[in-house]
Symmetry: C2
């Protein structure tokens, strides 16, 4: 495991630790990111490691969670031992450090703060784990980590957080999430396995065999895929994806273009599926959270589908963790409330 501390960690003056107010962890399946905040809610240091919950430096029974936590945050806690610690993501799943049961949708930031679960660390301090959100029904949906990013996106926008208009927030990725937010609440959401399906098709089906890694991404091939998904005369995703191969056989797509075409097809199918269940899709303000290059692909695809009002939200994770920590009383004036709230 490698811990990459940002340069700021080592240049932070000892005096700065007097202002340290919160350590916040974004702890997922394959990575762990840690942020040190001052009392103003500004990040004064951060670090990242590959110690996701499925990639701990030791086994769980040998103290793997504590070891990863110490690797990431020990240097900060040695200097600021009383700083509260909050975490979001898969660390709160059944396979995580401690399970933080899902909060039911609709859910707002207060409900998330109220659902925090505490786990004791070897260092003797508590880690406060933010719960995920579940939407029950015939096709249930779950999220862990994205709820915190959504709270961060809302923190940025008073109108979104408090107005009565609804908005769509998209979080592209392995499992893309799309949440309908109203009055600061996650009303309902959808999960699309777009990223993982793309990788499985490319790496484990016949479609990958005729693909070559492109030197530079082909926007034209990507948009061609989006345009095919948008058509109403095709037989669905299981049929359209085969054209990745047949357009190669007929020399209409080069080997280098096929992966971008397939990516456009899948993202196009995702967005058309979303539009089918959320007709306001094209007219609402729309926010994207995530990897910038991937969000750029989504913006291109969204524009092709008529959605031009797309905003990229930055630092959503950090801001969401700060906001939930504030509501839970871990930082700011409300701090004494924490002992009562967090079980």
């Amino acid at each position: 495991m490698t811990v990459q501390h940002s340069a700021t960690t080592f240049t932070v003056a000892d005096t700065a630790f007097e202002h340290a107010a919160l350590i916040a962890l974004d702890w997922g399946t394959t990575s762990l990111r840690a942020y040190l905040f001052d009392a103003n809610g500004d990040v004064i240091a951060h670090c990242a490691s590959t110690a996701g919950i499925m990639n701990l430096p030791r086994s769980v029974s040998a103290g793997g969670f504590d070891a990863a936590f110490e690797d990431a945050c020990g240097v900060w806690l040695d200097r600021a031992p009383r700083v509260p610690v909050i975490a979001a993501g898969m660390v709160g799943s059944a396979q995580g450090w401690a399970e933080a049961p899902y909060v039911d949708a609709p859910a707002d930031a207060d409900a998330l703060a109220a659902g925090i679960v505490r786990v004791g660390t070897d260092r003797g301090i508590a880690l406060h784990i933010v719960p995920g959100v579940i939407q029950r029904g015939e096709l249930p949906n779950v999220m862990r980590g994205e709820e915190t990013q959504i709270v961060g996106a809302l923190a940025d926008n008073a109108a979104l957080g408090n107005g009565s208009a609804s908005a769509l927030i998209g979080l592209p990725g392995t499992h893309a999430k799309w949440a309908v937010v109203r009055d600061g609440r996650i009303e309902r959401f959808y999960t699309f396995m777009t990223g993982e399906v793309f990788a499985a098709l490319r790496d484990h089906t016949i479609l990958g065999r005729t693909m070559a890694e492109p030197q530079t991404p082909s926007t034209a091939a990507f948009l061609r895929g989006v345009a095919v998904a948008k058509r109403t005369d095709h037989a669905g995703l299981l049929a359209t994806i085969f054209s990745t191969r047949t357009l190669g056989l007929t020399a209409e797509l080069s080997a280098e273009e096929q992966s971008d075409y397939l990516s456009g097809l899948l993202i196009g199918h995702e967005l058309c599926g979303l539009a089918a269940v959320h007709p306001q899709f094209a007219v609402e303000p729309l926010r994207l959270i995530g990897n910038e290059a991937l969000c750029d692909r989504y913006r291109l695809a969204l524009a092709e589908l008529g959605c031009l009002q797309t905003t990229l939200v930055k630092d959503a994770t950090e801001r969401g963790l700060w906001r939930i920590a504030t509501l839970a009383g871990l930082v700011g004036e409300a701090r004494p409330a924490v002992a009562r709230r967090a079980g």
Copy 2:
């Protein structure tokens, strides 16, 4: 490589070889099946091996195709050296023994016979390779091997072959094909990557991690998946498949039920996609060709979607090979025409 000769091979009396009229090969990517016909078009011996074109006993440059051909048919050709030989399937692809260029749809059996390509064997006789079919357009489709099975299905049914009514023929499998047939012609067809997508999702995504191999297939879980795909209020396949996991998380699907549920979902999405592009779907006679257990799953799913007139076609491959060989003049009275027709 293992060649499994049927028992009949060894009990066929030497005198029977006097009546041998055709050797026909179904030569795909991962298997090779050979049939010995008498002059009545009855199969008097057959064998199967794993020597598909991607699994030859030696490299192509070391005579891999000839070696596989000899392993399968040498014992018959030693006794009946003048019997003509026909083959269909991936053996005619660019990666096969010799490329038999695709015939354009609409295509009938005569067009397939006319498109036969001959390749010389070490034994000094010709192998006659049936071409595949291509449907050009914005989403091209190709088939190799299935065209011969469809001809076999038509051979069985004068009304289908010659009437003016159209019919749908489905060939479930790794890449399921659905062909619209009219007046004995393959008018157009679709490819659904259902089988390969199922395997990729089960073996290479998070969905497989919570699955357990069922002791017996769960028809209820399968039909539940079909019913979900049939709903009009979902966000498409990329979203519905995630419910395989979340219904497990909410204890609504056991680990043993999840693979049948996913299978039902995918087959359901395939059939709904087909219905979208072929509205006559539910009212036409419908034939299925392929593995019986898989065809049974399709019949269940089709019934759930209102298609009750489903017939399973048996021995379609053998009968299609025989019919195309007849039209090409390889067997029967027209035999002298072969030298002229097959280039």
